[in-house]
Symmetry: C2
Subunit: 353 residues, 2 copies
Amino acid sequence: MSVATDHAPEPVMSHLDALLADRTLPDLRARLSELDGWARQDLASIEAELTRLGDSSLVGKSARHLLARGGKRLRPLCVTLAARLGDGVTDAAREVAVAVELVHNATLLHDDVIDLGEVRRGAPAARLLYGNAASIFAGDFLLVEAIRRVQRAAVPGELERMLAVIDTMIEAEALQLLHKGDLATDVATYLHVVEGKTAALFRWALGAGARTAGLGERAQAAIDRYGRHLGVAFQLIDDVLDFAGDAATLGKEPLADLREGKLTYPLLLGLPRDPDLGPAIRAALETPVDQPLPRELSRTVLGSLDRTGALAEARAAAAAHVASAIDALAALPQMAARAALGTIAEATVARER
Amino acid sequence: MSVATDHAPEPVMSHLDALLADRTLPDLRARLSELDGWARQDLASIEAELTRLGDSSLVGKSARHLLARGGKRLRPLCVTLAARLGDGVTDAAREVAVAVELVHNATLLHDDVIDLGEVRRGAPAARLLYGNAASIFAGDFLLVEAIRRVQRAAVPGELERMLAVIDTMIEAEALQLLHKGDLATDVATYLHVVEGKTAALFRWALGAGARTAGLGERAQAAIDRYGRHLGVAFQLIDDVLDFAGDAATLGKEPLADLREGKLTYPLLLGLPRDPDLGPAIRAALETPVDQPLPRELSRTVLGSLDRTGALAEARAAAAAHVASAIDALAALPQMAARAALGTIAEATVARER
């Protein structure tokens, strides 16, 4: 995405903009822009830290290439908003905010090597520019830096919690790997993968942010519940966008997840409803990755997901998780940061990339 | 290597045996077997921890496959011997000993993916059995577990030092990557890579072991110097073995480093001495990795390194570093652990795998 606004380049605003594509609800956009004041303040120093990382080596370039492309910075924003529910954004919160984004980017770097990803955030994947090796080492480098920052944040037990989250993410990736290309994957397995690979990091971001700011036990439980539902909703929409988004908005090729053998929610919903979907998925999986997917095949898959209502149902499931996330916020003190978290949840389900 | 002794399987002794191939100096072998008593005690619990790790997932299997193959366990032995120079082997020392082996194995898992390695420790590389993805995640998993253990060891500042060492290793790997297949690599660059990718972890293993046992500043400096020279010697011999070892003893194909584009010390020494060596190296680098190297080409390279004295000089350089390592030990109290470190240094230069 980089900078796509009319006025002078403002990286922080462009990150917020990225939460909403142009075509989404204008009132949501207006509400999100209200966040501008603090979000600018909270995210600016985090952004500065992120773009400062990485030297001129191939590994440093790999790391910087990805970090400089921006992305939504949604996870650091979660950390700072959670902190604002308590004592506010301290140095510890900022360390955690940078760390969570680094963990996220480390997984992206390793995932791209694993999935042979070619496009990420609208640009060639780092592995294509600097090689698989540099991407693997860059992922390791970012992970080490993330751990260093959480250690520096000095919240008792936080490093252990972070390491447990990374373990959960790896376990989920392993499970996803086991079911690669498996049309018989059940929905429970899929949801377990989603909770592990996506929701766990959101939960940690919000929980750790809250812990840096001394939130009480009840508020902490509420923020954890919010994080879990937000994370699941986020992944469900990600999955939907693989079938519904277009390449230009999305910053990557559609049907990319499917071609990587990921049997996502819409597919799992559609399969028992349409006998033609299975053969089409198998044909898509058998198409060599270096060849474009035949148009006919894409049309069959997309048509089926549309006709069977699978895509609509997946969107509805995401909306239900967003509703649960917003519901969880009710246990928190009524303040601007809480409203902002609600807006972010709504923006997540409305997003087009 | 796994278990290759006549008597009942004894993993700990087989690790010590691995330090010496059958054909090396018999008195060194005898002296090393004197270590048996404590080494058995010190390494047994570490070994139990190492083989307990990893679940039944693909990622867990990847990790266990490599850990169960054993290897020399030289780095954990360094930790425990350094600890024995002070207050002895505590729980903290054991955590660090396990951690250093985990970091080492994590780098092996990532390296095999990067180098497309096919054989490791005499068996197919984990990536061939469980896939590149599982190897990348398994490396991440071991790294996380290593960090958790160092954190648990609770030696002030140790986690930060460990993270700095991992950064140094990544930086060295990046430099090595930059000079991949580069016949103009200078010796200074090569040595910088060796210090970073190999010696740094040995230094940390020894230094951290000493710190768990309360060694004084002077002893700490001596152990650091020992670790650095031991590590450089170890890598120099590793490089030599790529040209001098045979596949059965080595547990991997000879000339594997060269084919991965690594211009190691013997090659850098030989290049200016023999105008035929450069073209032979280039031809070797151009041979597709899935094809065996033509016998003629291997003979040319090996003959040149022999004739120019490059191989002998690399061995001599390793021996000089071993001498410096042993020299550094003089500043330490005269005790059995110090003698054992001396023996290990001698064994390192005499080893054939």
